[in-house]
Assembly symmetry: C2
Homo-oligomer: 337 residues x 2
């Protein structure tokens, strides 16, 4: 049974654990600093398909299959996931030939954190024995949907981020697995009034700050209680904004605070401007970097704070601002490791 502590955080009594995880990425991601961690790198950006949207579906399918394989073929009771494409079609098509129930999510780039949090809560509540959370994004599909077709050759602004071609999947189970989900802090939607769709980091930083502060307040913890705190995909600019915001609140993140969008690429040489973004960013970094490092004993306790910008080209074109959301899950290498 989950128990509420403080205003918004839920402590998970059964500490659902990670049984398996997998990541699949494209060539650019596979050439980045995390290259050793991915389960599959496709140098073909089409993943053998004839459109980028079908490529995204195929990439998600591979990722689900690899995660299932790594668990020894365990079939989860349900799959939770979503993506950035209109009406989340790539996720729907990735799950359609599995006879496993599917609960579709939309959390923009916070989808992995949302799925992980919901899966952990549902497992803790009994009834389910294992659940899989997954998500992903594809640079070329996202560019033509959100911005311009690649053929247009539009110039990118310095604050813009590079949508990660990548997917991540995590299989969770009740009372087993080396990494235990101990706390979940669901996020509220905050609107800082940012209207520049090429500056997502600034739009999401206030939501990240709100959820991290709430989590610390509710649990009585601070940065000293965590070995590392990760935000989803604020990028270099959003990372620095959040760092400033946290310092103004009297917190000193030191080197413990990192952002998945900064970790995914070499920002000096890979021409991604402010860093990585997209559902696949934090999902692939979780599965290729964070969990493997926890497995090696590098970190014992981690806060995974996925961030999402809740916008569409249409809302931006109609002059709406870009609200952000951030869901946080505390992961611990526990007694079962």
């Amino acid at each position: 049974m989950a128990k509420r502590i403080g205003k918004r955080t839920l402590a998970l009594e059964s500490r659902p654990g990670v049984l398996a995880y997998a990541s699949v990425v494209g060539g650019k991601e596979g050439a980045g600093p995390l290259k050793k961690g991915f389960d599959e790198v496709s140098l073909d950006s089409y993943f053998g398909q004839d459109t980028w949207e079908k490529a995204e579906m195929t990439m998600l399918t591979h990722c689900l299959d690899r995660c299932a394989q790594k668990s020894g073929g365990l079939r989860p009771d349900a799959i939770l996931g979503g993506d950035l494409l209109n009406q989340c079609v790539s996720s729907a098509f990735a799950v359609k030939d599995r006879s496993t129930p599917y609960l579709g999510l939309y959390g923009a780039c916070s989808t992995m954190a949302e799925g992980l949090s919901l899966a952990a809560l549902l497992l803790d509540g009994g009834g389910f024995t294992s659940l899989m959370a997954f998500t992903g994004s594809h640079f070329c599909a996202a560019e033509r949907q959100y911005r311009f077709p690649l053929e247009y050759g539009g110039q990118r602004t310095p604050t813009s981020q590079w949508t990660v071609t990548g997917a991540g999947a995590v299989l969770l189970a009740r009372e087993s697995g080396a990494f235990e989900l101990t706390h979940v802090t669901p996020g509220r939607v905050l609107d800082a009034g940012v209207t520049d769709a090429n500056n997502m980091g600034a739009a999401m930083a206030p939501a990240a700050c709100d959820t991290i502060l709430r989590h610390f307040d509710d649990t009585g913890r601070d940065f000293s209680d965590y070995d590392a705190v990760f935000t989803g995909d604020l990028g270099a600019i959003g990372h620095d904004i959040l760092q400033d915001m946290l310092q103004k609140e009297g917190l000193d993140p030191g080197l413990k605070y990192m952002d998945c969008g900064v970790l995914m690429y070499d920002l000096l040489t890979q021409d991604v401007h402010a860093g990585g973004s997209g559902c696949g960013c934090s999902a692939a970094v979780l599965a290729a970097h964070i969990l493997p490092a926890m497995e090696r004993g590098v970190w014992k306790r981690v806060l995974f704070a996925g961030t999402g910008a809740l916008m569409s080209p249409l809302s931006c074109q109609q002059g709406c601002s870009i609200p952000g959301v951030c869901h946080a899950a505390a992961i611990e290498r526990g007694a079962r490791a």
Copy 2:
């Protein structure tokens, strides 16, 4: 604690209950057979805004506010919802000025059933004391996003359905409320190979059949155990297809099986072809017809089986078929009534 019974159904030990519900619709819906049940009917299809997308956001905001009012101002621990617009922006904007955590869903027209099911499971798992599930859709916003701009004056095919301009919200709480959620059967994604985006009923009927049969098998129940069984928005054609499929499985629904898309409009006079559809269809019918009738004692035990077609214009244009999903929740007027 939830308990799994059979292959896929979860029995909810704490029987989370409905504390309040509300619906807001447009003029066409307000002139239909369910006109007496809606909390708000807007004769202005713009809901005072300058675009239909902002109208949808405003309609959802009104619906959330009315549901909160009807509960006596109770603030839920979190809100679960989603919609049909690209990147679910209308839901995100409807929740953004509430300081309540938000878990975004994408279940297409099954969103209300998905939200209701997840909320009930999360409440049953402890931690949360009350949760709100909501969704909605707007005919004009959906037409220009999925099909043609209204100004184009496109002809609609006889199998096509009319996207409901409407929203519904339900507030659930742990161990209170007159209507108790007793069972949840999450659905899997089934692809019958239908490629006609103007025949959603045919695309979704197999998923509805699968989930209803699974629910009956898991619980040992059949139509005789329910006073009424509702599908989300199969419309007249999908309703008849499902009726046939159920009869082939040896089940006799009699007059107990109804579809929200058929109930929403007068199919003979309101020029909606095969009936209503959209996230708002089953959500508004639940809040304006099903729950009020249960409150009056017309039905004691109901199965609410929300159906969704998992497609986008893009997936259809790329020749993909239209998979369907159906989530079912059993609602009972219980001992707390």
